[in-house]
Amino acid sequence: MSEARIERGAEGELRMIGVLDYSSGPALREAGRALIADSRSALMLDCSAIERSSSVGLSLLLAFMRDAKAAGVELRVTALPDDMEKIAKVSGLLDILPLEASRV
């Protein structure tokens, strides 16, 4: 199990990696805040390397949306894993998250 982290990928891309849960959540929250505050242009958050997520992962997406809004940059989310999509569906978040159709 790799350690959870969020990092800058290619141009305008952020990648969330590992297990998003109650222990990894607080640090990821702060790391994402710093990365988004430094951004000047539109961001794509890639979720394909998330191994497993509880509701904490959905809360992180919402928190990053608030950060992006405050910074005045656009944020899109791509490759939402199945377990996150299930929680998003039950919690009525599918219409609220800025989900990008998977890029193939």
């Binding site: 109650y22 222990s23 959540g25 607080p26 929250r29 509880s54 509701s55 904490v56 959905l58 809360s59 992180l60 919402l62 928190a63 608030r66 299930k86 929680i87 569906k89 039950v90 919690s91 009525g92 978040l93």
Partner: protein
Amino acid sequence: MSACNDFAVELKGVTFKRGERSIFNDVDIAIPRGKVTAIMGPSGCGKTTLLRLIAAQLMPSRGEVWVAGNNLPSLSRSELFDMRKQMGVLFQSGALFTDLDVFENVAFPLRVHTKLPDEMIRDIVLMKLEAVGLRGAIELMPDELSGGMKRRVALARAIALDPQILMYDEPFAGQDPIAMGVLVRLIRLLNDALGITSIVVSHDLAETASIADYIYVVGDAQVLGQGTPAELMESNNPRIRQFMTGAADGPVPFHFPAPAYADDLLRGTDA
């Protein structure tokens, strides 16, 4: 490890006694992963005790209780504390904190078990209340809620930590028909949409048979029968038939054991 990973919970040869009286005597029960399993039986047959054994609130006198690959009686206190985070329980009474509003009731397990910042706790509380349809009730106090709404808030609280196993103790007791319908729908939705293993302890036959994938009927400290609702309805076992058809008399007699009625009456008060 547990013998079979298709089961989220397995009781093997479990005996539980209160004093000299056996509540369960050498009972085997296997709860399939990701399904709704009902534990049914007459009042007082030990259904709630069974839930408390699975939730590690009680330990068996003898036998093994396997939950998520761990035999509970062999775990340390701190391991049990971690195990309990994986299990949500909807208690019979709802058991909301009466001096906390709806938001703080749902936030409570997040504040106790996690170090999430307030902003994330708020997200998760809103998500869970949205799932049970009560996001609009966030500022209400428990005494401002109907009985059905209280159960739904308690359900939101039970799923706050995303448990793998969700246990319901008499979820339908004392609910009006609409509230029952809402609860049935929610139990099924949470089970199917989130892949949760659901255990419903109940004596409400119609509602329980309508949502259970599999039913255990317990009584007399034993498992009297098991199967899908349809299989149990067809059972030839007279004890199962009596329970499934709600007959007042049968192998479980209507009358509590008593001396012959005529003797009792005609004896007068000279005893």
